[in-house]
Symmetry: C2
Amino acid sequence: MEPEKNSCHCIEVCFSPKLFPEILTRDNYVVVLVDILRATTTICTAFENGVKEILPVATLEEAKALKEKGFLVASEQDGIKLDFADFGNSAFSFTRDRVEGKTLVYCTTNGTRALEMAKDSGQVVIGAFINISALTQWLVDKNKNVVILCSGWKKKFCIEDTLFAGALSARLLESRLFKSNCDSTAVSVDLWNLAKPDVLQYIEKAAHRHRLKKLGLDDVIPYSFLEDKTKVVPVFDGKTIKLTPNT
Amino acid sequence: MEPEKNSCHCIEVCFSPKLFPEILTRDNYVVVLVDILRATTTICTAFENGVKEILPVATLEEAKALKEKGFLVASEQDGIKLDFADFGNSAFSFTRDRVEGKTLVYCTTNGTRALEMAKDSGQVVIGAFINISALTQWLVDKNKNVVILCSGWKKKFCIEDTLFAGALSARLLESRLFKSNCDSTAVSVDLWNLAKPDVLQYIEKAAHRHRLKKLGLDDVIPYSFLEDKTKVVPVFDGKTIKLTPNT
């Protein structure tokens, strides 16, 4: 059956932060930020393990300055943890004993920049496979249009974020509370349907999977595609990322 | 069998002119410009019907000024032919009796702007399903890296250009003279494989197909997905589009 189009909210998928200024959804929307390998997966993991709040910063200079002020800092460039930092962006290093109750400064190649870009649009929520069901329910309750913003790799299209956009869009469309007339949403759903019987096999095609492998940083990949390892829904309010009150 | 990677040239697909500055292919490349609905299909048709050369312009003001100087002008906005122009961008209006031997000024929403952007990179070649085999052979002979630049719709990702990028990439990869390690190429090929059993059915998903239908401009769609209706390979040298000497 066709969804009831008049009462539905829209889903729009944006394949790169560079395309974000071109989105057609102009009002009453929430942005889902996606960087599956690895920032948004890692942020959800840190909240699952009790981090109090995350302060995203866009430059190394800011990250270093806050480190000197005594903050815990996560910072990587092209996947590699930087010397001065306490963490890179492997989800596995954000363990409960290291992060619980703490404020964390987070600077990454892709994720933070996309967050900075999206924040002027109002609320930004953090999406990953590991929180997909909780996020879907949060978006249904939110009752707004949804723009899924893929961080991509160096601002380019990337497979892993697109698969998540497809998985999330498919769930939202199934609720019949959302519709889409955007080509990138349709294609994301098709790619997700193609990939989902064996996602880890499919992402062998992803260039970034090979970059991480080369760096010995690919141990986190299977985890990054597991669904519902957490119920946290972290939200960025323009300054810090915190849990929403009901999570 | 794996292609012989060391001797291969690269294919990179760019889903929008906005992403063109981010391409990773930095030297020795040719750009394939794609705007299946409808600019590049139309340009190939005009050359098949004997047009002498096409002068692309980016603004309406330029198009109007050249019309006043006596040129034949094609100009549309959001699919609609503009009043002052001789043609919109329906391939079917560029008949032999109207274009043979003529110089044509061409101003379109998507195509011309992408052409302007790509021209600083060297040679730009016009790609469409209707010239796909001739184009493939031309690229094989050219012996350079290939960037497939999708015009998109209002700078956004669009399905029809992506399917062409997939169809062309699949042919080039099959030649084993090309390789790709770009996520957008891999995804384009997958989408093409998904769509090719019934392309016209698949592009029912494309938003622009519905825009054209609403405007009564969708008569050209089946033609736009036919392969090898022409052997022309039009090339943009930075000023005008002409046929290459060997076509």
